[in-house]
């Protein structure tokens, strides 16, 4: 089969289901349910730290997960601290946070803040365990944290109920090493599907309380919060695309054995 035909098949398998909705039913897995339950049982006013540990390349996969989790947080009246430990996550985190906060009419400084980016993530993670204001003296727009009402009550991880790492690499493992092991914080992870399998040992050990794996994780979370979004829409496309790849593999093997 010519390569060009394979490319056309893949393009169609992604594009057509995005236009024509199939609506395949999606089941919620226990890993996603655990993240939902953890956030759902937090008291109103609890602080959730959301770290945007990803680059722009994985935006279509990580943004639906971030949106779903933030919508749940704001609907529960939780306070959200956003930050980025990879430079490209900074602008994305700022926009995603503002977008969801506006949806729920949350106020900057009172209900949520965005701290921006700090280089050297190990030092930043460890430093926040001692004093967040020392690592981030100012927020992303340059306002001293002491002037933000929400941050007056937040000194370090002691005042944070849950950490959520939205990641496309192995940053959640560093969160386990530094925030979970050293400061005994609870960590939920929203990671790209390709990385998700790496984190199962940490789920099993309880070092991660739950995991959203890629677009499927986002779709499952959207079901739980009853807010359909890009996750659910993308799952039809992903289903058809996976099916096409499986059929290509089978066709390739049939050809191989026939030639043999």
């Amino acid at each position: 089969m010519p390569r060009q035909l394979i490319f056309v098949l893949i393009a169609l398998s992604v594009a057509v289901p995005l236009v024509i909705k199939i609506g395949l039913p999606n089941e919620v897995t226990s890993e996603v349910m655990r993240v939902y339950e953890e956030i759902d049982r937090l008291d109103s006013g609890s602080v959730v730290l959301v770290s945007f540990d990803h680059e722009a390349s994985s935006l279509p996969e990580v943004k639906p997960m971030a949106l779903a989790i933030l919508r749940h947080c704001f609907s529960k009246d939780l306070k959200v601290i956003g930050l980025a430990l990879l430079a490209e996550g900074t602008s994305i985190g700022d926009q995603v946070l503002r977008e969801t906060a506006d949806e729920y009419e949350r106020l900057y400084g009172k209900d949520y803040v965005f701290l921006g980016f700090r280089p050297q993530y190990q030092a930043a993670m460890l430093g926040m365990g001692e004093d967040i204001r020392r690592v981030f003296p100012e927020d992303y727009s340059g306002t001293p944290l002491i002037r933000l009402p929400m941050m007056r009550k937040v000194e370090n991880y002691e005042d944070v109920a849950l950490i959520v790492s939205v990641a496309d690499g192995d940053m959640p493992v560093w969160w386990v090493d530094y925030a979970v092991s050293r400061y005994h914080k609870r960590l939920a992870v929203a990671a790209t599907a390709v990385m998700a399998t790496s984190f199962y040992p940490f789920l099993s050990s309880g070092q991660m309380i739950g995991l959203l794996g890629g677009l499927k994780g986002a779709a499952e979370y959207e079901i739980l919060i009853d807010k359909p979004g890009m996750g659910q829409r993308g799952m039809d496309a992903q289903s058809v695309c996976h099916l096409v790849i499986v059929l290509l593999v089978i066709a390739g093997n049939v050809g191989y054995f026939m030639r043999k």
């Binding site: 490319f7 893949i10 999606n26 994985s58 935006l59 602008s91 280089p119 399998t197 996976h242 093997n253």
Partner: protein, 212 residues
């Protein structure tokens, strides 16, 4: 070896030993002074890292300027890279990086779509490579192929649409054999990290200084 070169090798080893030992010991010392010194070290780590970013940017610029000035093969791409770097730095310094700035516009409308496009191209190459290379040439390769198909179908709604056995099997693969293998790898990485760290702190491992 001259005295100057000898010192240039010894100083990093001494710095590494002192700070490595300090970070190890302070973990077990809950005293206020230890905590204060620890926070200062963390501040310094970030400061040093910022300089490494600067070194990276300068090195990138130098390498690309060299290729453009010599009009080496593909120099046009290097020129575009340099222009991109310069434009983003200028826009960032000019109006900042916040809401409704030209920097953010460029990030949202040029950089993010380009990077997402590059990432999305993987789907085409993965499909093509899977068709050409994924063959059941041995029973191990056949097993890998079956597992891959089960996980691929089990991780999308189509799997449960066909049969609930597919997502159940996919989840079992991820939560049992795959996790066991990952756990083994992580334990190996952990032990390797400890031994390498000790070798660096004690000055046995010196390759990070350059040379042999």
């Amino acid at each position: 070896m001259s005295k100057k070169h000898e010192m240039a090798r010894r100083i990093p080893i001494i710095v590494c030993f002192v700070f490595g030992l300090f970070m190890l010991v302070q973990f077990f010392v809950p005293h206020r002074l230890s905590g204060a010194a620890y926070e200062t070290v963390l501040d310094w780590m970030q400061i040093v890292f910022v300089f490494t970013l600067l070194v990276g940017a300068i090195s990138y610029a130098k390498l690309n300027v060299k290729k453009v000035s010599r009009t080496e093969s593909g120099w046009g791409y290097n020129a575009i890279g340099l222009v991109g770097l310069a434009v983003m730095v200028i826009l960032g310094l000019w109006k900042g990086t916040g809401e409704e700035t030209p920097f953010l516009w460029m990030f949202n409308n040029v950089q993010a779509p380009m990077q997402s496009t590059m990432f999305a191209l993987l789907a085409f190459f993965v499909a093509s490579a899977a068709y050409r290379g994924f063959r059941a040439r041995s029973w191990e390769a056949g097993l890998l192929l079956v597992v891959a198909i089960v996980v691929m179908l089990g991780r999308v709604p189509l799997g449960s649409f066909i049969s609930h056995w597919i997502p159940d099997a996919a989840n079992w693969i991820l939560r049992t054999p795959s996790m066991a293998a990952k756990r083994g790898i992580y334990i190996g990485i952990g032990l390797g990290t400890i031994s390498t760290s000790l070798r660096i702190i004690l000055g046995i491992e010196r390759t990070y200084l350059g040379g042999k």
